[in-house]
Symmetry: C2
Subunit: 884 residues, 2 copies
């Protein structure tokens, strides 16, 4: 096994072995880009190290020494050389998946006190001393765990009235170095004066940083395997802090916030390494470089285009300019906002860089979901208290929290909080993950807070420099306004605005690319998407979002409307069929109008209407309320009313159930009281006939709920089809229609062949099917034991969110096989909440489901998931986007 | 197709074509017994007739005429012969299944007015005239629907002070014939004076009687197919009413009430046909014949033995003696009481007439069930008000009802009624079927009431002649005692005693044959029987009834005991693990003692103990009760109690669930609060160790309820086995034990292979599995819609009574296959209520279940069902008992 690869020995496909950074440094080296030479110690070595540290180091170090010798040859500089410009190296972590800032890095390794004059000779004294100061500070903190150095440094600056690092002169640096050395002594530590020893300790530190707390937390959030390990990159240093012709910077090949095709980024003149990302100094925009250093800018632009074409995706690059010369230190697929993701994918497709399938795979369903989040109403009149940088779009509303740990705790409990910090660093990751959004006073568009928030899809406003944060007394102020911890604020990451209190939110405006992407997705998909919609408004929204029909129109909500409920109650408390019929006759025209409007909105696409499903007691007031009504009526001596409510009370009592979920509902109601279903079917067909006569196509599907027995569907269907035919005959109209059934009782799956004889479609009610297959009452289980089960890994996921493919899914598979064994053109859909869940959609596709139906707001997500499922399981191999 | 078979052309196996009576007449004829000659018109003809009456009769009658000609040749008598003894025939129904008295019979067909002198010449005038009177009466009622004739006849007798038919002399008969002829005229009807015409009309009447109301009702009760039809038997008449050397009678080859091996029956001298069965005259015991007509008796005894050996079962025979000569008119397997059934089957086995398998198949599980019904306590001190004949054993308690229709109505509603009638006839069948028992004033051991009650297994006391029934005023009296309709009485069909009010009942005494039968059954069975028992008392009863272990010991009932409930509640309202542990420590010794006693009773057989299953709120009082307790405690200023109940109220509220069946119960409890299960397992093993140390074998099986996820059983089992091992180690004892799981959640069936990895046995909780597979909450469904579903044939049976093999059964099959695919010696049981249902046991056997477990009182039923299932599905062919 090879433990060490020089950059020219690797390539971009070796990221599991070399880590993302190592693999990309190798790829760039082989592309002929100006990369300082270096080598990578593999992730395999890291794994060996973590199980046997000293044994592994013993075997590793001779190889490292050989590699340093080789490196010395290649670059023409040497470790410990006090006659020529000496070799310094950076030692950086680099895991197979991007974990920005989570693990350790040590720069300027190889510098010793005795080399300062030499370094000074070949550069300048201030640079040499600042480099040593940096090494002392970074090595001390990272390798030797001396946590006080930064404080000492900040103290010194404050005391001497110096704001920026570059304001420090050589005498300042000398004093700081002295202070640092004293502090080392206080800790009983020292900086090894042997470059190889420095290197060895740095490598060990990087290995160990795989298991620091924040890295573990990050892996948990992003599902990164614990056993991957990190590679270690040892690279010759180039110096962005050498002089004023030097700089360090970060650039994206396209705007990561909007997706616009422009070189985008920031740089800091005379600065080193982490200064940009850490957000300590607000850097200059890359655009300024065009004027100041036109040649360097031109070179960077060309490299940027080359890298993008090579990687077929937007790149996030790190570079350093040393005394006017450009070096590339890193490239990777850039994190981006959801909006940018859609724009970049569709643009790359239009530019011919990727094909349609690649475009569809490039955008994640989570991104689509984020785009559908509500936004701040642009007509909202209240003025923001401050404006910062619009670092990650979307609106967030929550309580102000200044402490990451507290934010994490409250967020865990379901409270909505906004993390407010001067700046963030990797230690804030848990708090960020559980906040609605983040607001910082310092840092730019590529600062830690901005990058992480974009990655998590959380709204972020950064660098709002007008706010003054008092962490001790827990408030921030903007001019006269004071906002205390637990006060509610709203932030708009799309505009950078910050508001006190709750702002008004409106549905998002969606870009033209958004719809282009989904239209292409639809062409690829082999599983359709419909919507669950009970009202004309929902139907309209569903149509706008691209639903090809309604997969579930629940009729019970129609009875809940204020003016209808009393009639519904009249129907329920009726003692005879005749009394019941009187109430039903009143409901008929109302239902007819509902259906008419919904059909109209759906413009001829199928509308699957589920007949009355919930237990009747859901339409009656609670018993204590009826009792109050009786008392009131008695007091006022309204005898008729007393009688009515007494009748209602009796009915409510007789309808009471121990387990209503498993009770007198669904088709059971329709069988015992057929006149209810008959009214509904009449309303449906009369509405359809009306629209048909007006010249619009209309396609009603009648769906019977909760069927478990062949006889149920046989009896119900025969009776109802009679009604349908009668209405059509009365009107002398011919219409396409279908009869079908919900499959939501486990037994229905087992006897699906018998049920299929009577229907043209199945629609899985996966909510109820999950409840009955698991024996979980959702209301009870999610409150009582599912959280415990998830925390303790008894359940790997909540089966009400992601379909349980192992249990419920197997029943569905059985149902489809059995159903189609007697009717091979049987149409099969899903209309539970899982219909909008990408993982569930993928499973549905694999078992032969024809369409999924979900809430209108999830239709775009489902459309993309449907296309991605089709692509993943098609024979054509599509190159998937690398982990970003 | 052959339409008509002479008796010598058929045999006993042709009952579907010739009907039971025709097939047995054929068989007897071929055995050389004295059977009057005749022929059978097949059931196929009946079916043709019912769809095309006139067309069928047109084709049938020429064949009937030919057959009459042949019959005339064989017997040497002729239709319409006024010079010799003329031929008269009986025309009798005879369906493939016995339907006693349900369809029509016409006797003396062929007699015309002009033949009276001829018949008189060859016999005597009184006989000739009585025969004509009978024909007029029977033909008039049955064929011509003149319903008034019997009334006229009874009126005449009353008016002329004649009690019995035989007291009527020739002048009486002449007058009666005149009255009958006048009544015929009043109805515009006449008796055809052509024998062939009489025969034709009689055949049509018998065909039509297949569809009369009482026949339909009978078929419904006994599940006899509607499309079988009845055969018609036309047979030369022999006359039991010819003179005093003539008689008609019924005999059983063994006592149908006790099973004792003696010729048993009754006869009436100088009487015809239906006089015995109708119960109008109380007949003489057959034993009297031995002294009076020794030769005839001897002949009958020999025939009886021959028939029994031939049919290998107890026979119910009809015979007629004509002028001293014995004729056999019918034989069939005799109806018998449950007690007799067991005795006869075991005796026939011991006599070598049938083998062990035949014996086991001969007794039905319903009969075993009846034997387990409670009986009147023999030490009961109250004196009966009257004693009648002990016609069908068992005790019945209910309201006196005099009208069959009312009895049927009330019985349907679930009220317990006892039908009290002077005598019963086939019109009473619906009322009888829905009564607890029957009491009649008239009729013997073979009267209609006696025969039908025995067939239905209902207690009957008949011929209690001391009771005077006043049907109009709705009471009966015995001496001074008056019992009105709706008063409660008790009858003891085993002794013939009738009591006013409710008697004390005790468990039944079971015969030695009962246990012999079941022991033989056990040897045949390839599926075991265990019992569900929660207490030492239940365990003891189960052991007595032959259970080979306990298949379900529910532990929750143990917590419900008065002194334990407060401790259980203390455990539930505990806020910390420590508080909970204090309560559990108090419960531990109590549970240990429970288990110790149960293990002791089971003498080393396996005891399957289910860990705590029900939701915790079941152990708390209802909220209104807690509220009352709080108020009380407040009034009396008991602060501690107020606090305690307030805590309890809070807990009760937090434990409240929308659908407790699908809520926080079963292993879900055990996972969230592992200390409860740990206490239980400790109690179990400490009890086992104690008994083991006392030298008794003990075999505990731990069963985890409501498992649906692999992780659940993994986590629970690992923790609990640790406890078990710890207790054994502490005591330095080694014991056989097993860990297993309930399979009662549909998902468990689907992932049975994953669950099986962790357990040694499965036990199907078919109650819950049925609830979840159907989506029926039993409490709600059985109250709300299952009755409607059963009435309207949406469900063919209640799935909580007979296992749903199509749905639930398929899940069970899947579970067994998947479970054994990873563990082929996995033990599988059933512990739902279906474990005691014979049909469900048969299904369980076919899918490879190892044992069923049922309530102790159903253990004998299950043992027989287990053996019968084994026999039915074994390759050996066992001749099953014919329908009786």
């Amino acid at each position: 096994m090879k433990w060490i690869y020089f950059f020219d020995e690797g390539n971009a496909n070796m990221r599991l072995l070399l880590g993302g950074k190592g693999a990309n440094l190798a790829e760039m080296t082989n592309l002929g880009l100006p990369v300082p030479p270096g080598f990578t110690i593999t992730t395999e070595v890291c794994k060996l190290y973590l199980s046997d540290p000293s044994g592994t180091m013993e075997k590793l170090m001779p190889q490292v020494k050989n590699s340093i010798a080789e490196l010395e040859k290649r670059i023409g500089r040497k470790f410990n050389d006090d006659t020529n410009m000496p070799l310094l190296v950076s030692v950086r972590s680099g895991a197979p998946a991007s974990m920005p800032g989570m693990m350790d890095t040590i720069l300027n390794v190889g510098l010793t006190k005795k080399l300062i004059p030499t370094l000074s000779k070949f550069t300048n004294l201030r640079f040499a001393m600042d480099s040593y100061r940096r090494l002392l500070q970074m090595f001390g903190k990272t390798v030797l765990s001396i946590q006080t150095l930064e404080e000492i440094f900040d103290e010194y600056k404050k005391h001497n009235n110096k704001k920026l690092d570059i304001e420090l002169d050589t005498s300042d640096l000398e004093k700081i170095i002295e202070l640092f050395e004293k502090e080392y002594e206080n800790h009983g530590k020292f900086l090894p004066q042997d470059p190889i020893e420095q290197l060895k300790m740095s490598i060990e530190t990087v290995f160990n940083s795989w298991n620091n707390e924040r890295a573990k937390e990050y892996r948990r959030i992003y599902n990164i395997p614990e056993d991957w390990g990190t590679a270690v990159n040892v690279q010759a240093m180039v110096f962005g802090n050498m002089n004023d012709k030097s700089a360090t910077g970060v650039a994206f090949t396209r705007n990561p916030s909007t997706g616009e095709k422009v070189l985008y980024g920031e740089y800091l003149v005379n600065a080193q390494g982490e200064d940009v990302v850490a957000g300590i100094r607000t850097p200059q925009s890359i655009i300024e470089m065009r004027d100041k250093w036109p040649e360097t800018f031109e070179q960077l632009l060309k490299i940027s285009e080359k890298l993008e074409r090579h990687y077929k995706d937007m790149q996030d690059m790190e570079f350093t300019v040393e005394d006017g010369k450009l070096y590339m230190l890193q490239t990777r697929n850039g994190k981006r906002t959801a909006q940018a993701s859609v724009k970049i994918a569709t643009d790359l497709y239009k530019e011919g860089i990727i094909n349609a399938e690649e475009m569809v795979m490039r955008v994640s369903t989570e991104e689509i979901e984020k785009l559908l989040h509500p936004q701040v109403d642009p007509n909202y009149k209240v003025k923001p208290i401050v404006k910062g940088l619009n670092a990650s779009p979307g609106a967030a509303i929550g309580k102000v929290i200044f402490d990451s740990k507290l934010a994490a705790e409250l967020g865990e409990k379901g409270e909505k909080v906004i993390l407010v910090r001067p700046e963030t660093n990797p230690d804030d990751i848990a708090g960020l993950a559980r906040s609605q959004g983040v607001l910082t006073a310092r840092g730019g568009m590529t600062s830690h807070a901005a990058v992480v928030a974009r990655g998590m899809g959380k709204p972020a406003v950064v660098g709002a420099e007008e706010i003054n944060i008092n962490l001790k007394e827990k408030y921030f102020s903007v001019k006269e306004t004071i906002v205390r911890e637990m006060d509610i604020i709203s932030i708009d990451g799309s505009t950078g605005a910050v508001y006190v209190g709750e702002v008004k939110l409106i549905p998002p405006t969606l870009s033209k690319e958004f719809f282009e992407l989904l239209d292409t997705a639809d062409k690829i998909s082999q599983i359709g998407v419909k919507a669950n919609a009970d009202t004309p408004e929902d139907a309209k929204k569903a149509f706008e979002y691209g639903a090809k029909g309604i997969g579930l129109c629940r009729t019970e909500h129609m009875f809940m409307a204020e003016e209808r409920l009393p009639i519904m109650q009249e129907m329920i408390i009726a003692n005879t069929k005749e009394e019941r019929q009187i109430a039903l006759d009143k409901l008929l025209p109302m239902q007819r109008e509902d259906f008419y409007q919904i059909f109209k909105e759906m413009k001829g696409y199928p509308v699957v209407i589920r007949l009355l499903d919930p237990p009747l007691h859901e339409f009656l007031p609670k018993e204590e309320i009826i009792n109050k009504k009786i008392e009131e009526a008695k007091k006022q001596d309204r005898k008729e009313e007393v009688e009515k409510y007494q009748k209602m009370l009796e009915k409510a009592e007789s309808l009471k159930e121990a387990n209503p979920m498993l009770g007198f509902r669904g088709c059971r109601l329709g069988i015992v009281y057929p006149e209810i279903n008959e009214m509904q079917v009449r309303a449906i067909f009369e509405a359809a006939v009306k629209l048909h006569k007006e010249g619009q196509k209309v396609n009603p599907h009648i769906m019977v709920p909760l069927v478990g027995l062949q006889k149920e569907i046989e009896v119900v269907k025969e009776k109802l089809e009679e009604v349908a035919k009668k209405v059509l005959q009365e009107n002398n109209v011919n219409l396409e229609y279908k009869f079908g059934t919900m499959i939501e009782v486990p037994r229905a799956c087992l006897v699906a062949n018998k049920i299929a004889e009577y229907v043209e479609f199945f629609s899985f009610g996966t909510n109820d099917l999950t409840q009955m297959t698991f024996g979980y009452s959702r209301d009870d289980a999610e409150a009582k034991f599912i959280p415990y089960y998830l925390e303790n890994n008894i359940l790997t996921h909540n089966p009400f969110q992601n379909l349980d493919t192992e249990g419920v899914g197997q029943l569905m598979k059985t149902a489809i096989e059995r159903g189609r064994s007697v009717k091979n053109n049987l149409e099969v859909g899903i209309c539970g909440e899982h219909g909008g869940d990408p993982k569930s959609i993928e499973f549905a596709y694999t078992i032969g489901v024809d369409y999924v139906s979900c809430s209108p707001f999830r239709v775009p997500v489902a459309r993309l998931a449907a296309a991605q499922s089709t692509i993943k399981h098609s024979k054509k191999e599509v190159k998937l986007a690398e982990t970003r």
